[in-house]
Symmetry: C3
Subunit: 154 residues, 3 copies
Amino acid sequence: MTTAAQRLTELGITLATPPKPVANYVPWVKSGNLVFVSGQLPLADGKVTVTGHLGAGVSVDQGAAAARQAAINIITQVNDACGGDLERVVRVIRLGGFVAATGDFTQHPQVVNGASDLMVAVFGERGRHARAAVGVPSLPLGACVEVDAVVEVR
Amino acid sequence: MTTAAQRLTELGITLATPPKPVANYVPWVKSGNLVFVSGQLPLADGKVTVTGHLGAGVSVDQGAAAARQAAINIITQVNDACGGDLERVVRVIRLGGFVAATGDFTQHPQVVNGASDLMVAVFGERGRHARAAVGVPSLPLGACVEVDAVVEVR
Amino acid sequence: MTTAAQRLTELGITLATPPKPVANYVPWVKSGNLVFVSGQLPLADGKVTVTGHLGAGVSVDQGAAAARQAAINIITQVNDACGGDLERVVRVIRLGGFVAATGDFTQHPQVVNGASDLMVAVFGERGRHARAAVGVPSLPLGACVEVDAVVEVR
């Protein structure tokens, strides 16, 4: 059976140092078997990969790529919460997807799929989660998407 | 004592086949005693019942009716998670209400009451929940409201 | 060791009667060891302290002060959930910060810090939490910020 770490390698994804929050809080908190992960931006090498709004210059493909990057950062935090052993992940419970979007944008699900698809690619059935995807007028650092998560671990 | 199923019948509400998510995720995930339900749109017969924005053409009554429809879909998913026995619902813990709204709209609570009132009508005291109600610029499929939920079951 | 109640006194904060929700739901629900607190507005003496939008007239300092007031109301509800003994708080698990903001606003974290900083000031290490901070076009009663919470108690 392929582990989550092996799938990350196959996907060419290297987990960097967990991105630090941009404010006075912590990246994740564990309560019982649940890890609550702070909202993650599409940060790579300390920079937001895609800024702007869906429906006004940012394409669905660009948004989905940004959501995938936010999901990589979620996995990075979960890996930290699991002491480096992603096999301790029992189930990705829920993702919250916030998409910077105009008033007439309707394809929020397609954008947040960038995050959802990665979870299933990395964790298989354990990666299938509940989800909410909504629009927002703006996000920290001008990011086009933010994703938070609740993950069950052992 | 009246069961939740009996109250649904009294209210003339028939639970249809659980609406499928419009993207790559699942409608609910159970972790311990908690069921996390994905954001539900006001879908009926596969169509969004009310599109548009509160404060720009959609009335509070229309919005509340849409929130009630989203809540019917939440109950449908919870029913599925409970194997068809809504008496396994211990408590509706939390609803998240996202209302597509203009910048000067202020009656989000009255809109989300459409969902909250139904929960209490169906589950009685078990239906009384914590809640957040906020505006959003846009939602999937142009819906005027989206509601997600956390429900404790046995 | 200083208790949370002592820190509140040192900060000159008096917990008033818990603000009632402005609609048909309850201020908090406890499930297992988790208390889910409803979205709190920056209400003081029954009035919203700061209305309007960040990026359009409301300054970051004003927004942070409003977030702090919302956090006082969260602590008031948690105190109620703990039967008046804040030492039963094991950990503030998560805050959700919704900031009424324009499309080009980017300093949501600095606004929500008003809530995060208070949690750490009152609860110390127990107050360090996961968090999501996002923009919204509008909030109930025209408030500039709304904050909800998940808190672990014993």
